[in-house]
Amino acid sequence: MEIIVSGVGIVSGIGFGAAETLAAMAGRRAGLGGLTLFDSVYRDVFPVAEVKAGNRVLKQRLGLPEGKTFSRTALLGLLAAVEAVDDARLPLRKGLRVGFVSGTTVGGMDRSEGFYGSFLLHPGGGRLRDVAVHDCADSTEEMAVRIGATGYMATVSTACSSGANAIILGARLIRHNVVDCVVAGGVDALCKFTLNGFASLKILDDAPCRPLDESRAGLNLGEGAGYVVLERKSADSPGAYCRLAGYANVCEAFHQTASSPEGHGPYEAMRQALASAGMVAEAVDYINFHGTGTRNNDLAEGNAVKRLFAKRVPFLSSTKAFTGHTLGAAGGIEAVLSALAIKYGLLYPNLNYTRPVAEHGLPPVTGFRQGVEINTVLSNSFGFGGNDSSLLFSKV
């Protein structure tokens, strides 16, 4: 059974929707800037890629009542999920069993961290509606109900590979005939918890991140959501973006927060994704790197790519200098970018690149290019805990 991508939805620091996203890519406009969403001692220290609208505006865009409490995670997710189902014309196609699978790392933490401050001062303090949206499934259920995808629902949380693993589950739910069609991807909103977590690990760069560059010094956080609509290829499926030709999920079982320098986990994820599609490494035209800009990731991932693609290294770039690292959303956002790359023949620039990484020397694409024949794209997502996943997209 062939699984196709029939719709996409995306929101990130570089824009709302696929058109704005591609325009920003073409214009090399990164989404990074100062933190405005909440107070933090890191406000003027670490650049972040915020979605450029407050919650009130997001609710207006979605036609939601201003007085009702939503986590920012749910609002960002709703924008991308609604775009994806409209793109696949799902609301017009009756009788489909539609499932929804969403990946997220912190769910509604953006609201519960506000609650918790008041609660710490007094056990009766804080508004309960702020903490009622804390758990990871809250945003999933908001989206599933809104887009009519309650046939089967699941929430995945494997750190930074959550979105990719949601897409893998989505494809399998269709293959096993649990549902006909799945909306899958990921979402995360910026919050104080995450910002401080990555700051405490000392892997945030105080300058715009430089993935795949020798001078890279850490990642920038971002927020957003990306969802794809997956369904089985059939005569009456609408114009598809691409196929989801293969995928793999492995665990490196090496360290809670680091990859082995050789990139054993990334290597296995990519190798098994190719094997699952029955493809050889030479078939890959472009790799959308996980490419966070940390010393550790870009070394490990690059070493793994160099080993697996020893005969010919494909085009490669990380798009995280545009969107920041959107954590649970990254796998979804980059799946959307991969689908768009195939459909429109695009290559995305790896911003802020000057010098190759000493150990592997892999040169990324630095300019936006269109009209390129892109048949197959590999999209990588690697998370804490060694949860490494790769998705392989290819022309229908």
Binding site: Y116, M153, T158, L169, H176, A199, V250, C251
Partner: protein, 337 residues
């Protein structure tokens, strides 16, 4: 898509991890909270440094996995984890540090141990297992998501044996917040626990207990739930009276909520065991019910504290659970004749 349960293990408020039989007597917890009875971790995690670096919930997860896998003596081909609340203790610890220390000089350990995949990842690290590994975090569907994933991996031929583990822990703050939300009214008890299962398409030496099917129903309406339960029984060519026992997710001593009343009504000729007054309630509590079902079928005997009038034979059990009126699930468990 049925699978055999080759091995199981549980850390819960009533039994000990090493127990092989359900106790003849069990007391209801005093108050509205009950804590899991932690094992002597030295028995399961030999390295003292590794133990010291782990949080309580990580130790519980790894110990239960080690005990479960000791029954099969084989590396699992997949590690699939489920939690509703996640690593609450470390999440709170890190958040409190952020707020109280003004975001300065923070220890990153509680942050890295707060992520939902920590338990599954640690299990993989301790086992040195590089296979398929994922974590589901969907309220009362988390465990059901994990079961379905494991069943699909097995059917795909990607896994001969899959380890499914569930964990949930509560804290003083989470108990208090849920108390304010009205969770612990009508006799409900806040619980916690860790359960592990090895699932396979092939029966093993451990017996021939099968998980035949899993049904998830989303939404708060009674009628669709009733209809989906009827279809579920029909699909398996079962009448309610063909079931030997219903493990009902009723929070209190009686049938309580309208959903449990309806489901217990469908199975009105069947003995009903309400386990939550002893084990407490939490998002992945249906995993406790599945572990309990396996024990009851293996022992062919239900202790009096669980059931006043135990059935003569226990070969087929239906488990019903719901979480916050929205996530309803049914599990069908049986001994192969």
């Amino acid at each position: 898509m049925s699978v055999y349960i080759l091995a199981s293990a549980s850390i819960n408020p009533v039994t000990e991890l090493r127990d092989t039989l359900l106790p003849a007597a069990a007391a209801r917890p005093e108050g509205r909270r009950c804590a899991a009875r932690e094992p002597d971790y030295k028995m399961y995690i030999a390295d003292a440094n590794v133990r010291r670096r782990m949080s309580r919930v990580m130790k519980m997860g790894v110990a239960a996995a080690v005990q479960c896998l000791s029954q099969t003596g084989r590396q699992p081909d997949a590690i699939i984890t489920a939690t509703g609340w996640g690593c609450l203790s470390d999440t709170e610890k890190f958040l409190r540090n952020v707020l109280e220390n003004g975001e300065c000089l923070l220890n990153p350990t509680p942050f890295t141990q707060s992520t939902f995949n920590t338990v599954g990842a640690q299990t993989a690290i301790v086992l040195k297992n590089t296979n398929y590994n994922t974590t589901y975090v969907h309220r009362g569907f988390s465990f059901e998501n994990a079961l379905l994933d494991a069943m699909m991996r097995i059917r795909e031929g990607e896994a001969v044996q899959a380890l499914v583990e569930s964990y949930d822990e509560h804290t003083g703050a989470s108990f208090k917040i849920m108390e304010r939300m009205g969770f612990w009214r009508q006799g409900a008890v806040c619980g916690e626990g860790v359960q592990c299962f090895v699932l396979s398409a092939q029966p093993g030496a451990g017996g021939r207990v099968r998980l035949r099917d899993v049904l998830c129903v989303f939404g708060g309406e009674l009628q669709p739930l009733r209809e989906k339960l009827a279809l579920f029984l029909q699909k398996h060519r079962l009448r309610p009276e063909d079931v030997d026992m219903l493990l009902s997710g009723s929070a209190g001593k009686d049938s309580g909520c309208p959903y449990c009343r309806m489901v217990e009504g469908v199975f009105k000729t069947v003995p009903v065991a309400r386990y939550k007054p002893f084990f407490g309630d939490y998002p992945t509590v249906s995993s406790l019910a599945l572990w309990l079902a396996g024990r009851l079928i293996a022992q062919q005997q239900a202790p009096r504290w669980l059931l006043d009038a135990p059935p003569e034979q226990i070969n087929r059990i239906v488990i019903y659970n719901h979480y916050k009126t929205k996530n309803h699930s049914f599990l069908l468990v049986e001994r192969e004749q």
